[in-house]
């Protein structure tokens, strides 16, 4: 490394280095520390996710921050997911009907379709009319402790990611809020960085963060109505002209498909110009 020295100055105090924990150790530490507030821990692609009850949200954040083993003092991000029955926004579903097996798995609720299909008169959703009302539970919990009652039906899932500085230790915290009256305590007392993320979350989803210093709009104009990241909020461009949606899933002509298959089988590609040929010439 090049030597670029700096002029005089004070050397600053560093936070203590985190102990390296693997995913199982993080999960068991969370189970130990969160106690009754914890619903479950999941290890998914090496990432530990802890689902906590909403009342315990702030305490959970404080725990992962101050715990001497986890030391997750780096606030990465906070956001939400809006879980509804349909896996795809309206207008998208119709176009994908032939190609996607997944979209029909979750039953749709005809009472909830007022916002989208009411505006799109030409976009008739026949599948909606035939489906039956059912209990929609995207995140069923296996063991709910105490008196906590899990929200049913459409819900918001609040997600927060924190990690330990200069360490691979990181935790995803999640909690579920009902779609109506989504409200939770603010994290701004625990992490200063949560301020803007909660403002974004408020304007995009309408989730209210109690005790937040200033929940004004972050991105959108002050007089903007609606919460754009709600699944019921249709993209304006799609209302005017629905996206055909099947351009990418067009059938590949059989002769091209046969050629592609042959290429994949032999591991060669006609489009690639590998530089193996000129390797000898370059090295000298």
């Amino acid at each position: 490394m090049a030597k670029i020295s700096r002029p005089s100055g004070e050397v600053m105090q560093l936070p203590p280095a985190a102990t390296e924990l693997d995913a199982e150790a993080i999960a068991s530490r969370l189970e130990e520390g969160l106690g009754d507030g914890l619903i479950e821990t999941v290890i998914n692609h090496g990432q530990v996710t802890a689902r906590v009850i909403p009342d315990f949200w702030v305490n959970a954040a404080r725990f992962v921050k101050t715990d001497e083993q986890l030391t997750c003092t780096f606030f990465s991000w906070l956001s939400a997911i809006h879980w509804i029955e349909e896996a795809f926004p309206e207008g998208e579903v119709q176009a994908r009907e032939d190609n996607s097996e997944v979209q029909s798995e979750l039953p749709t609720d005809p009472t909830e379709s007022d916002s989208g299909s009411g505006n799109t008169s030409d976009d008739v959703q026949e599948s909606d009319a035939n489906s039956t009302v059912s209990e929609f539970a995207p995140y069923p919990s296996t063991h709910v402790p105490g008196t906590y009652e899990q929200p049913r039906g459409r819900l918001f899932q609040l997600v927060m990611q924190v990690s330990a500085p200069a360490s691979s230790v990181s935790v995803l915290l999640k909690t579920e809020l009902p779609e109506t009256d989504a409200r939770i305590s603010t994290l701004t007392d625990v992490f200063a960085g949560a301020n803007w993320h909660e403002r974004e979350c408020h304007e995009m989803f309408g989730i209210v963060f109690d005790g937040h210093p200033d929940l004004s709009k972050l991105y959108l104009p002050e007089d903007f109505e609606g919460h754009p990241l709600l699944k019921s909020f249709s993209l304006g461009a799609r209302l005017v002209k629905p996206w055909p949606g099947n351009i990418d899933v067009e059938e590949i002509p059989p002769e091209i498909e046969a050629r592609l298959d042959a290429e994949f089988a032999t591991g060669t590609s006609t489009t690639a110009t590998a530089d193996d040929g000129d390797e000898g010439g370059d090295s000298e």
């Binding site: 490394m1 090049a2 670029i4 700096r6 002029p7 100055g9 050397v11 600053m12 105090q13 560093l14 936070p15 998914n44 692609h45 990432q47 003092t73 780096f74 606030f75 990465s76 991000w77 956001s79 997911i81 809006h82 896996a87 795809f88 998208e92 994908r96 190609n99 996607s100 997944v102 979750l106 997600v159 990611q161 500085p165 200069a166 995803l172 200063a192 960085g193 301020n195 803007w196 995009m204 972050l218 991105y219 959108l220 754009p228 909020f233 993209l235 996206w243 990418d248 899933v249 498909e257 592609l260 994949f264 591991g267 060669t268 590609s269 690639a272 110009t273 530089d275 040929g277 370059d282």
Partner: protein, 389 residues
């Protein structure tokens, strides 16, 4: 006859009198100052509403959103191959680095392993992009604190690096080169030669920049001890990348949870001591030099073979959730991808580095003088597209 010494004495006396007058007579009232959204030092459309007490900043309220394009909403109606065209434009100074975490996340959810050559090439192109991005910093930042010459040096070599990127990807700013499963195509035959020549040029320009800027007395006056960001505050706000490392935290995702081929190359992560503007600038110069070394190593060890894995004709991602992150030139860039099957994601949360980096100006700008606002903002190296998404 008045001598030079007399003249100096009288000037000193006048200056002293002026000092006394300032401290006694002038009542500096409070004042609200609006900086931006169109201001050259805000790198785009950041607006700051600053309350001043004389020359001193009493409070600051950053106003963002002028560049908000709603990418998180748009990504919900895009298929995965289409998504890279959008996420290229999140941070337009480092388009290629933006693609990587998203594509890696999609590949992890699908269980696809890209061929080693693709992984190495991705790493290489990432580092080229990092060099290009840091060279933009070294043209913009000195300009903001009053030095014009470095811009010409830095931009000349940045153009050269971009030429190399263009020869591979076809795009200077928005490569859109990654595919789920690998890369669009292989590198051209002239790549090795051009790339190593460009790296030589980068090393030379880094030396020039060090001589021009980091030893320059005016630059030191403007930056040393200005805008000190303590490590605890930086972590609290989620500041990442060179800005965090300047504050002494050795957090580099390339090291702490290696992705791509970063565990196959040796490089050092420069760490600062003071967390001031000078350190933040110094980190970027050192990182540029390290990146050039990484590129050299990757050029020597580039494996042969295909650049694309066998993937389905239609990219459908099974149900699942993943948070995939990478080290952008500006810090931690991550995507939280939620899939419920099908061609497009159910929800994508874009964690961009500049958003958190700029949030801490509320802390950084308190109690500084007006000219330092520009010096501090510039040292954070934010891109408004990355802030607003």
């Amino acid at each position: 006859m008045t001598t030079l010494g007399d003249l100096k004495d009288s000037v000193r006396a006048m200056a002293h009198a002026a000092d006394a007058r300032v401290s006694v007579d002038i009542q500096a009232g409070e004042m609200k100052l609006n900086i931006g959204p169109q201001h050259p030092a805000t790198h785009g459309v950041l607006r700051l509403v600053v309350e001043l007490d004389g020359e001193m900043v009493k409070s600051v309220k950053p106003v963002i959103g002028y560049m908000h394009r709603g990418y998180e909403k748009l990504l919900e109606v895009r298929s995965y191959p289409q998504a890279t065209a959008l996420i290229n434009r999140v941070d337009w100074v480092s388009g290629f680095c933006n693609e990587i975490p998203f594509i890696l996340g999609a590949e992890a959810l699908m269980g696809i392993e890209p061929p080693p050559r693709a992984t190495y090439l991705r790493t290489l192109l990432c580092e080229l992009q990092r060099i290009a991005s840091h060279l933009v910093f070294f043209s913009a930042y000195p300009l903001e604190v009053g030095a014009m010459t470095p811009m010409f040096h830095a931009f000349r070599e940045r153009e050269r690096v971009l030429d190399v990127l263009e020869s591979v990807t076809g795009g200077r700013f928005h490569p859109n080169f990654n595919r789920v499963g690998g890369l669009f195509k292989d590198i051209p035959a002239t790549f090795r030669k051009e790339c190593s020549e460009a790296m030589e040029a980068v090393r030379k320009v880094c030396q020039d920049l060090e001589d021009l800027i980091l030893g320059n007395e005016i630059f030191l006056e403007r930056t040393v001890g200005i805008g000190v960001l303590p490590a605890e505050v930086a972590l609290d706000y989620g500041v990442s990348g060179p800005n965090l490392r300047a504050s002494g935290v050795a957090q580099d995702i390339r090291k702490i949870s290696p992705y791509l081929a970063y565990d196959q190359v040796s490089f050092e992560v420069p760490i600062g001591e003071n967390g001031d503007c000078f350190d933040r600038a110094r980190m970027r110069l050192l990182e540029t030099i390290e990146s050039a070394y990484i590129v050299d190593q990757l050029l020597d060890s580039l494996p042969s073979g295909p650049v694309m894995a066998k993937v389905p004709k239609v990219i459908k991602i099974p149900e699942g959730e993943i948070y995939s992150k990478g080290e952008n030139p500006r810090g931690e860039m991550g995507y939280y991808i939620v899939s419920r099957g099908g061609n497009n994601p159910y929800r994508v949360k874009i964690r961009s580095a500049s958003f958190s980096n700029i949030a801490c100006v509320e802390y950084l700008l308190l109690g500084v003088f007006v000219p330092d606002i520009i010096a501090i903002l510039g040292s954070l190296d934010f891109v408004l597209g990355d802030v607003d998404r």
